[in-house]
């Protein structure tokens, strides 16, 4: 899910009425120094990357002068966090902390509505909070049709143990955060820590805003604020993933391919359906096989796109065999995929005598698919005579045979 970088998320918070530290974005050490001078006083220099746990990764540094801020910026720019290069920094005023709180708003699959979580013991990761002191984390289920008003915010936060002047300000911050969560159709808004300063001000010192990719069509203004790496999550795209993304963006229907390259993989998996793809990866793991890809595509007029992506997969140097297919389909026309595969094999010139390629398709379009496969020498077509586990076992043993330098036909399963 697209994660908005902290500087831009904080600007949205500020516009929603939540106080944030004075701060500036910087892309160079000189800009960081300039920002520090403008702030005037000790600052925090934070790497802007789409991952959590930045404190632990050591990419949030304190600086007490423009010189030290410049040094900190030099150190951070050019570093990478979980493979994401640090391209931008947030330089912001260091705030005096009296208390650190945790606040998040996300959807809850149990109540199936927005869930506010709050703790007066913030400033640490949510995982640590849940592990060390789960009772300190309080939950408030919100009826999305009623929303969250000031009175409910106050009574909830009072029950969480917030008192004094900070209570009213924290309630205003919570109300504003909820409004922002709804207005941006976010998946997650986390403010950690929400700081109570020693002058009883409530300031969002750090925040995470994850948007909903499915709702972005309604929010072009938010989409513009996303960074190149915002789609990230765990690492930037590999070259093969970038090429597939380019194909997905070039050939309609757009944005229908989901492709992940798996490090050190050998068997390309091209399996349709979220649940089935997951189960196939499980089955491979159980067998000891090494999947090289997870590739799924939304049903529709997909042949050209499937053809181009299959060529990319066949050209991946480490891939020694492939399994394409799906559960028995009700509606999607499987012959389109098999035709795309046959064309990709022909165009890349991959010798299926040395590269085992199994397709397991049945259901709508199955008979036509079988005929197309028969016209592609070496392509093994399996229908509903096998379960998907059996198809997985077959490609695994064939690839093992190839690795031993034996023909895959020796492993059984020749048509």
């Amino acid at each position: 899910m697209p994660r908005m970088f902290e500087d831009r998320a904080k600007a949205l918070l500020r516009d929603a009425g939540v106080r944030i530290p004075k701060g500036y974005s910087a892309s160079t050490p000189a800009e960081a120094a300039e920002a520090t001078r403008a702030i005037g006083g000790p600052v925090m220099v934070k790497a802007l990357v789409p991952t959590g746990k930045r404190g632990k990764a050591g990419v949030i540094l304190a600086a007490d002068s423009s010189d030290t801020a410049e040094e900190a910026a030099k150190e951070l720019l050019g570093r990478a966090v979980h493979h994401f290069p640090v391209k931008r920094l947030l330089v912001e005023q260091k705030i005096s902390i009296a208390q650190e709180w945790y606040l998040s708003i996300a959807f809850d699959s149990a109540s199936r509505g927005p869930l506010v979580m709050f703790s007066t013991e913030g400033g640490v990761e949510i995982e640590a909070l849940l592990e060390d002191n789960p009772d300190a984390l309080k939950r408030l289920e919100v009826d999305i049709l009623e929303g969250l008003n000031e009175e409910r915010c106050i009574s909830f936060l009072r029950a969480c143990g917030v008192h004094g002047e900070g209570l009213y300000r924290a309630a205003m911050a919570l109300e504003a955060c909820y409004a922002l969560f709804r207005r941006t159709e976010a998946r997650l808004l986390e403010v950690n820590p929400l700081v109570l300063t020693d002058t009883d001000e409530v300031i969002a010192a750090a925040c995470v805003l994850d948007l909903d990719a499915d709702a972005l069509f309604r929010h072009p203004e938010l989409e513009k604020l996303l960074d190149e790496d915002s789609g990230g999550g765990w690492r930037p795209p590999t070259p093969a993933e970038a090429r597939v993304a380019e194909i997905d963006a070039r050939i309609p229907p757009y944005n229908t391919a989901r492709f992940t390259e798996i490090e050190d993989g050998e068997i390309a998996l091209m399996w349709s359906g979220g649940g089935g793809g997951l189960y196939l990866l499980d089955t491979m793991a159980r067998l000891g096989g090494r999947p090289a890809t997870a590739f799924d595509i939304t049903p529709g007029p997909l042949e050209e796109k499937y053809f181009e992506i299959t060529k990319e997969i066949l050209r991946m140097p480490n891939v020694k065999g492939a399994l394409a297919g799906s559960n028995i389909t009700s509606f999607s026309r499987v012959q389109l995929k098999v035709r795309a595969i046959a064309r990709a094999v022909e165009e890349t010139g991959v010798d299926l005598a040395e590269f085992p390629f199994i397709v397991r398709f049945a259901g709508a379009g199955g008979e036509e698919a079988r005929e197309i496969a028969a016209g592609c020498p070496g392509l093994q077509y399996l229908g509903d005579e096998v379960t998907l586990e059996e198809a997985a076992e077959r490609i695994f043993t064939q690839v093992e045979a190839v690795k031993r330098g034996e023909p895959w036909t020796s492993a059984g399963g020749a048509p």
Partner: protein, 305 residues
């Protein structure tokens, strides 16, 4: 008997004039489903393959009392259609669209709850009571439907539409039929999770056993385990949970449905399996073991046809 849908269920199809909806409506009717009307804004008065089309649920219901609606409308329009159907008092609303914005999902579920109607989905492939009727896309055309499903004593619930069908097929090829199969939807938030449908199977005299196909993420399997553990469901449960691979994947990476993310230590397949086993369910590690486990569960009183 069966749950949710049978040959007496009167169904309205929203978005009936779309090519996919039109095809599925044809398959549904060929299977025995009573489709009484279609709803497409701006298309009132049209006839779609013999089904009269109305502008809204309210006008359709005036002319054709109905028990259920299946929504073949795009993700962006799904919430408003579902909310309209709930407001008009349609008792069962099946939402097929994938990729509905999460705020919309929460809204449609809240509206259905307030109206006291049942919402299945979103991202549901459909509901089928084999040999009786079906709603949604599951099964497709008649030959495939009959390959996948047959009438019998097993209730099947799945978070994956495709793998739910595959589960039914594994049973059908062993001669074990199903009372009703519900694709509950692949999103983290769905209108009718396992624990809300299992009580219907509990009360269904034809259902003797329930099979669950689970995935990482959400609390659907945990809630099902709690229901069984607390005695709210007393028939045998056979469960399979996909996605062990996600547990060994790097933090933040997930394969499969968007909902299949293990967040904050919750929703892991290992925990789901442990809780289900603790509650007394049979949890199998290979899907091919499902038919044997079901046969064991059915044991007395069940004879292979």
């Amino acid at each position: 008997m069966s749950i949710l849908v049978d040959e007496t269920t009167r169904v309205i199809v929203a978005g009936i004039t779309g090519w996919q909806a039109r095809a599925h409506t044809g398959f549904m009717r060929a299977y025995g489903t009573r489709v009484v009307a279609g709803v497409v804004p701006g298309r009132a008065g049209e006839d779609c393959d013999g089904v009269p089309v109305y502008d809204s649920f309210a006008t359709a219901l005036e002319a054709h009392p109905a028990d259920a609606a299946v929504l073949f409308v795009p993700a962006a329009a799904a919430a408003e259609s579902a909310i309209e159907a709930a407001g008009a008092g349609v008792g069962l609303i099946l939402v097929c669209a994938e990729g509905v914005p999460q705020h919309d999902v929460a809204r449609m579920i809240a509206h259905a709850r307030r109206a006291g109607v049942r919402l299945v989905g979103p991202n549901s492939q459909g509901v089928i009571s084999p040999g009786r009727a079906k709603m949604g896309g599951t099964g497709g055309d008649l030959p495939v439907t009959n390959l996948l499903f047959r009438r019998g004593p097993v209730g099947v619930l799945s978070r994956s539409g495709g793998m739910g069908s595959e589960t039914c097929w594994l049973l059908t090829r062993e001669g074990i039929g199903q009372s009703t199969y519900v694709s509950v939807g692949g999103d983290a938030m769905v209108g009718a999770p396992f624990s809300e449908l299992m009580p219907l199977f509990e009360d269904d005299s034809e259902t003797e056993c329930v099979v669950l196909f689970g995935e990482p993420g959400s609390c659907a399997e945990e809630d099902a385990a709690r229901l069984v553990g607390e005695g709210g469901f007393t028939k045998p449960v056979v469960a399979f949970i996909a996605g062990m691979v996600n547990e060994s994947a790097p933090q933040g990476v997930s394969f499969g449905h968007a909902a299949a993310i293990i967040e904050r230590g919750e929703g892991s397949p290992a925990r789901k399996k442990a809780l289900l086993r603790e509650a007394g369910a049979v949890v199998v590690e290979d899907m091919r073991e499902i038919p044997a486990a079901v046969r064991d569960a059915l044991s007395a009183g069940f004879s292979r046809p």
